[in-house]
């Protein structure tokens, strides 16, 4: 028994070596996948994890035998949080490395920067981060949340469960918070919230001194009505913001803060004990208890060789996006972008929270929405979730400019079809 087992192990090892050398021999014939995430500069904080996620996914896929009988090969470049460099690197990935698809970008501006390149060179970008919507491009697949998959359910929850009547919309001054707040403002007003009960505040990137703003929030919140903060504060600025919140003693029971850009990764840098009860809205939390998620976390931590490595929503978006791409490629038996683009809508892939997400005709996907409360261990406790999955809207129904627009790349082959005029091409 033991002998046979040893023999088996040996044979396996031999086979593995053979496969390995075969892999080397056929190195020319790999399918290249571009990874376009900043590894240095301001965005490295968020994006390096996504680079690792892609390496992990590709390794896993190769363990399963690759794709179409070929190995996948990740091509990693560093666009260094520099937007023009994103475009340059995208061009390099597509033209020079001939990648089959690219997974990348975090900020909207980086996506905007590479868009023309993807259109011109006709390749595929999977974009994994929640964003402001108002876009649908043939070459881009949006696996992060659109505003209707994150912001609006969160506000609904606060209004219903916490009876919030007064709202602070605090954000970093860029397009995602601006748009989200615009949508939320319109939405809240449609629910009868008065002008004086909404406070909108914008801060620069990397804002570090939150004393005044937190004091203002406190002031705004002490007018007697139940108040909540909807935070679209981006990246680094969250840590000093939450530290200030904690120190000024704003408890979640007084003024809850719901954030759309704060996940497990961001919380890893903060002592969360003073923040227990503050909220985040995402389509995925690490703490969600499903077999798929448990397995994923275990493998991820093994891959990172760090038992404390956390997972987060954009990672899950890459998981879904990658699996969808794999399925689409397998379906059309080709990595030709045109074929894959056409095959992707309708493709389904299980997400990590127990459902099955589907790529829609507007190149967004269906996702469940969860509201989580921050726990003292830096994780989230899901306090609410949507029934079933919410389809992502490319164009917000709350905004004047886009309420008549729909994106449909299957029937109408158009990203901004105007239902009123019946024409493709905007308002």
């Amino acid at each position: 028994m033991t002998i046979t087992r040893r023999g088996a192990v040996g044979a396996l090892a031999g086979a593995a070596m053979l496969v390995g050398s075969a892999g080397a021999a056929f190195a020319q014939d790999t399918i290249k996948v571009g990874v376009l995430h900043s590894l240095s500069g301001t965005m490295a904080i968020s994006e390096t994890t996504l680079k690792d996620t892609m390496l992990f996914l590709i390794e896993e896929q190769n363990k399963k035998g690759g794709l179409l009988g070929r190995k996948l090969e990740a091509v990693v470049v560093d666009p260094a949080s520099n937007w023009p460099l994103f475009a340059e690197k995208a061009r390099e990935l597509i033209s020079q490395h001939k990648v089959a698809a690219v997974f990348g970008c975090w900020t909207s501006v980086s996506r905007k920067s590479v868009l023309p390149v993807f259109k011109e060179l006709n390749n595929i970008l999977f974009y994994p981060v929640q964003y402001e919507g108002e876009e649908s491009e043939r070459n881009v697949f949006y696996t992060g949340a659109a505003p209707n998959q994150q912001a609006i359910p969160a506000v609904d929850y606060l209004a219903k469960e916490e009876k919030v009547q007064r709202w602070v919309l605090a954000g970093t001054d860029y397009v995602y918070p601006r748009t989200t707040n615009k949508i939320l403002e319109a939405y809240l007003k449609s629910k009868g919230v008065k002008d004086e009960d909404i406070l909108i505040n914008y801060t620069p990137f990397g804002h570090a001194d939150w004393q005044t703003i937190v004091a203002d929030i406190k002031k705004f919140g002490s007018a007697g009505k139940k108040t909540a903060v909807v935070s679209t504060i981006n990246g680094d600025a969250n840590v000093p913001f939450y530290k200030e919140l904690g120190n000024q003693g704003i408890k979640a029971t007084d003024i809850p803060v719901v954030a759309f850009s704060v996940g497990e990764e961001e919380l890893a840098g903060i002592d969360t004990k003073p923040l227990v009860g503050h909220l985040a809205a995402w389509n995925y939390f690490q703490s969600i208890d499903t077999p798929a998620n448990k397995e994923f976390i275990a493998k991820w931590q093994a891959f990172k060789k760090n038992p404390k490595a956390v997972t987060n929503d954009p990672m899950e978006a890459h998981v879904i996006g990658f699996n969808m791409w794999v399925k689409a490629v397998e379906k059309v038996k080709s990595t030709d972008p045109d074929k894959v683009i056409d095959a992707l809508p309708g493709t389904e892939a299980p997400n990590l929270t127990g459902g099955v997400s589907k790529m829609l005709a507007n190149h967004h996907i269906t996702k469940p929405v969860f509201i989580g409360e921050i726990k003292d261990n830096g994780q989230f406790d899901v306090v609410w979730k949507t029934e079933g999955l919410v389809p992502g809207d490319a164009w917000s129904k709350e905004l004047d400019g886009s309420k008549d627009l729909v994106a449909d790349w299957v029937e109408k082959k158009c990203g901004n079809f105007n239902t009123k005029t019946g024409k493709c091409g905007g308002a």
């Binding site: 590894l39 240095s40 990693v76 470049v77 560093d78 666009p79 260094a80 520099n82 937007w83 023009p84 460099l85 475009a87 340059e88 690197k89 061009r91 390099e92 597509i94 033209s95 020079q96 900020t107 909207s108 501006v109 905007k112 920067s113 868009l115 023309p116 390149v117 011109e120 108002e134 876009e135 001054d173 860029y174 397009v175 601006r178 748009t179 615009k182 914008y202 620069p204 990137f205 905004l399 004047d400 400019g401 886009s402 627009l405 990203g415 901004n416 105007n418 091409g425 905007g426 308002a427």
Partner: protein, 388 residues
Amino acid sequence: MISARLLGRTGTIFLAIVLAVAVLVPMSNLLLPVGSPLHVPDYMMPLLGKYLCYALLALSVDLVWGYAGILSLGHGAFFALGGYAMGMYLMRQIGTRGVYANPVLPDFMVFLNWKELPWYWWGFDHFPFAALMVLAAPGLLAFVFGWFAFRSRVTGVYLSIITQAMTFALLLAFFRNDMGFGGNNGLTDFKDILGFPVQAQGTRAALFALSALALAGGFLLCRFIVTSKLGKVLVAIRDAESRTRFIGYRVENYKLFVWTVSAMLAGLAGALYVPQVGIINPSEFAPANSIETVIWVAVGGRGTLAGAALGGVVVNAGKTWFTGMLPELWLFALGALFVLVTLFLPKGILGTFTEWWTGRRRPAVAEIEDEDGVARAIDSRGAPVPAE
């Protein structure tokens, strides 16, 4: 009139290379077959064009730093303003092809509910006006800023730091979505320039050739300035500012002149840069960008013009190469490059090369300059002016 004296030997070689590049690279890209070893691949064109724009920017920095001793840590602001002027023109050319198909308003204004075009966007649909603004906007900013700063005799590191404050203030201002310049996303998704699609290979080739010509022209202009008597006055100002005043030169006017010219060159570089990289956004105003520009000049050789341009190309080409080849380690390589150049090539690549070339014949008598000459340009200790 281009005389040998105007160009110098290095200058002649430099100009010849730039002009050759202006012709040969687009030709090789458009005419040679893809398989040919001499073929310049499509993706290289905008990349090389970008380097040329950076070279022009470096040239403009060298004009003020190398010759007038004004260390600008805010030249990125002029570059970005030129870029924005061009970007605004390109945005207006999109017309109804934007996602909201608004014939007048750019997309970002539509979705932020702007109802009409703000006044400062007027006229940018006309190329001549935009072209004028490419030079006028940075020129005007430089003129106003310089008029204040030079008249008040802000010098040395004080000047450097307020130029940095200037570009930082502009960075924050352009980030603001209320400013009407597209906030953080900036201006992007350009379609046409003068009726030609920006993404077409022919347009790219033309833009590349234009960038090379602009670099050549900028180089000639700079050479004309620095070889003129005015150029000699600038060097005099750099080395002994108060002496120059006592001879009767109104130093602030000279500085203001060269400062404004330099800003306009930087603006031109920015304007050519934008259609080639396809985006202009506030991060171009980041002080780090301006500092890096200074570093290109230092790497290439301060006060050599051609060297500065060379530095702009070399450092950026290195960056492209490193970020692709060593994505996780490239900052080590770049950082080490800067340290090593400083330590072992204190006069930059070109400066060291020419010194080595001429040094074989004429022994260097540069002892004095070592301690006083270079250091004087930026009087970092704020050494007090002797009053008695």
